[in-house]
Symmetry: C2
Subunit: 439 residues, 2 copies
């Protein structure tokens, strides 16, 4: 078998066999196939696509390119959760403890990507002492004791995907449903959970710009998961504006803690309930949506969700006092209010631009080597649909550097659009794909 | 400017600007853009194509990526000749001296590629002592004295093309008219001649399988040449069966010498006359086809073409006695006849398969490091249309190794197809593109 023939076959619209896909992935993972052949194949796939079978074979091959985590020492049905990424999305930090407190173990392995704000791992590292660098046995031990742990991915997990992902990023071959779906699912499957709940976001702050695209991706991923024996459900949700009211690492941890106490923003709680419901149902802790919702609610109300989070923090080496004393989390040196310059309704609040504004404040990472300012970020006081009077505070910017603030402020102001009339409300959740039990 | 944005633009069907193309080529040539981004762009170009303007910009940028040869020290209109490559194609060795002897200087810089048989450079190296590694000033001196010289390309000539060409070969991105045309033309333009005659081959032994494709490539190349101020004419010729009656390095030199003496095979002479006519007309040595043909014929008849060849050999350090004593050229140890196993007419003689057979005998190069057996090759005694009686000699194989012979023999036998009736004759020359004067 020669790689150039595989490229040619796909270029000419052919269907790659299991053997051909395995040959490519195995040899690419061990660097026997160079990047320049891989990128040519990726571009050919961009144009000619892969069918469901090819996508499953690609996913399987990427899983087999590295280690798979064996979670069998943990009792119960382990349910993983993954989001395709948005701005202000702190759901994992809420859902992990919340779902675990309802009896479904959550063993979450997270990646550390680039982005407007840090990822879940960076956010958790706002907590004094907490480490996400556990060995697999420490990780399992933590899940057994607390019901939940969140750790960083090792380089041994789907290494072929890791290499391919970096390559796609610099060769304009990211945007292909099969490649996106297999990339995400290979990591999820290698991570060892039994079932998977996906949060597929659409909108200006998400990868998928339209609901149709998001639904297509959701279907591709659930097909892969189900095809590989891991029951998968996907929630298609809105990411036109940031989720919740904060964007930034320690700010989002605070918001997650408030949400676990039942005091979180409505949209964030709604999405957590939607995803949590699917997780409980897949995990066998609830038979239907209403039972699941009741359990989630009572876990919040009786404090067991928060207790679980404290236990997780402690087991991961962190100081759990921050749960009760939010001021222990990193605080920015300055807070500056951004005020409305006109009256009306917030018509749009471009999630991507808010994210970029937070990044300008220092909350994100452009290069791997960038150091995140955990305390920097934005508190949104007005979101889409809110009425605004000139002079009202739209947002509060948390920062440590006046120059960064000026840049971030300009960007944030551009994220808001106003209208005289109240804009039509968009739903937060568009669809749930693969749910067995109807609401 | 970022390479990933350039890839994305082409991927999405955009037209690349002059600046974008220059940015890519310049940075790629100095290895500031990695192969994996270049190959992604090449594959995007494969699918989205480039228009005439983009193709000219690509060609120009590749010319500017290295040195251009200044031939102004040589008087007269220098006319270059290039073939897109075939099997048994020894026209350059004939045309160089032939055209030069008619007063048009030929300063030919040739590449050393892989192939079923060696290229022009390898063939010339069959001549004892001859070197193709001249400095530019030696090269120019030789053209001034003999009217002709044939040397190897230096790495400084269109280096961006050199890098891109190797990359295309292993990423299934060779087959694109714009890329092929700009690759060939960048080298021709950098080589410094004033005008260019192209031999664009179509058929089983050529790169372009159909006359339409060959014509398309011919038009793309003449457009580039004319667009860059180098008048270019292209002859579209047949390469279904090998050209002439020999395939192999020293065998083809012998055939070239015989042709210069007026004793060559009909098809080879016909093509040389067609190309030579265009070269004389472009070089100002003839006003029309008949005048050109007369000059070429008389140069052959009065021995001045052969004299010119001898002079060139001598100036390039070779022993010119081989011209009169062909046995001084490398001779293979063994000659074995391949006989017809049935009677009929030769219906097909697959040029590619004959080429492969010669390669199996050792006449070609699969890897750069392979050493060519200059004496190995095939003499074709029967070609398309010839009548054959069972037991007739179809071909004579010249070899130095029984094992190689057995493999080559099997391949050669498969190249012949027979029919009861005489097959319909295909023309040798399909079209001449860009000729100002009609026949």
């Amino acid at each position: 078998m020669r790689m150039v023939d595989i490229i040619k076959k796909k270029r000419d619209g052919g269907k790659l066999s299991k053997d051909e896909i395995e040959y490519f992935v195995e040899n690419y993972a061990r660097e026997d196939i160079p990047d320049y052949q891989a990128s040519a194949l990726l571009m050919a796939i961009f144009f000619q696509d892969m069918d469901d079978e090819e996508t499953v074979h690609l996913t399987e091959s990427m899983v087999h390119s590295g280690e798979t985590v064996d979670l069998s020492a943990i009792g119960g049905i382990k349910v993983d959760k993954h989001s395709t990424g948005g701005v202000g999305d702190t759901t994992t930090i809420i859902l992990g403890p919340l779902v675990a407190s309802c009896g479904v173990p959550v063993a979450k392995i997270s990646g550390r990507g680039l982005g407007h704000t840090g990822g879940t791992l960076d956010k958790l590292e706002s907590i004094d002492g907490l480490t996400v660098d556990l060995s697999i046995s420490e990780f399992i031990g933590c899940v057994k004791k607390a019901g939940v742990a969140v750790v960083g991915a090792t380089k041994d997990l789907a290494p072929a995907d890791k290499r391919l992902y970096s390559l796609r990023d610099v060769t304009a071959t990211v945007n292909n449903i099969s490649l996106i779906a297999s990339s995400i699912m290979s990591k999820k499957i290698a991570a060892g959970s039994d079932k998977i709940v996906l949060d597929v976001k659409k909108g200006q702050g998400a990868f998928m710009k339209s609901t149709e695209e998001a639904r297509e991706l959701a279907e591709a991923m659930t097909d892969i998961g189900n095809g590989m024996g891991k029951k998968t459900v996907a929630v298609v949700s809105n990411m036109d504006q940031p989720l919740g009211c904060t964007v930034g690492n320690s700010l989002e941890v605070k918001e997650a803690i408030r949400t676990l106490k039942g005091e979180g923003p409505e949209d964030l709680e709604e999405l957590c309930f939607s995803l949590g419901t699917q997780m409980l149902m897949l995990g066998g802790a609830a038979d239907d949506v209403s039972e699941a919702e009741e359990k989630l609610r009572s876990s919040m109300d009786d404090g067991s969700a928060l207790d679980t989070f404290e236990k997780m923090i402690e087991l991961q080496g962190g100081d759990p006092r921050c749960v009760d004393e939010l001021h222990l989390l990193p605080q920015a040196e300055y807070r500056e209010e951004i005020k409305a310059e006109r009256s009306g309704h917030v018509k749009k609040l471009n999630a991507r631009e808010v994210g970029r504004s937070a990044a300008l404040l220092g909350a994100g990472r452009e290069k791997k080597s960038d150091i995140i300012e955990l305390s920097a970020g934005i508190e949104l006081k007005k979101k889409i649909g809110d009425e605004v009077v000139e002079g009202d505070v739209l947002a509060v910017m948390h920062h440590n550097d006046k120059q960064k603030f000026e840049k971030g402020k300009k960007k944030l102001k551009g994220a808001y659009e106003f209208s005289v009339k109240e804009p039509k409300a968009e739903p937060l959740i568009y669809d749930i794909i693969g749910q067995e039990e109807k609401r």
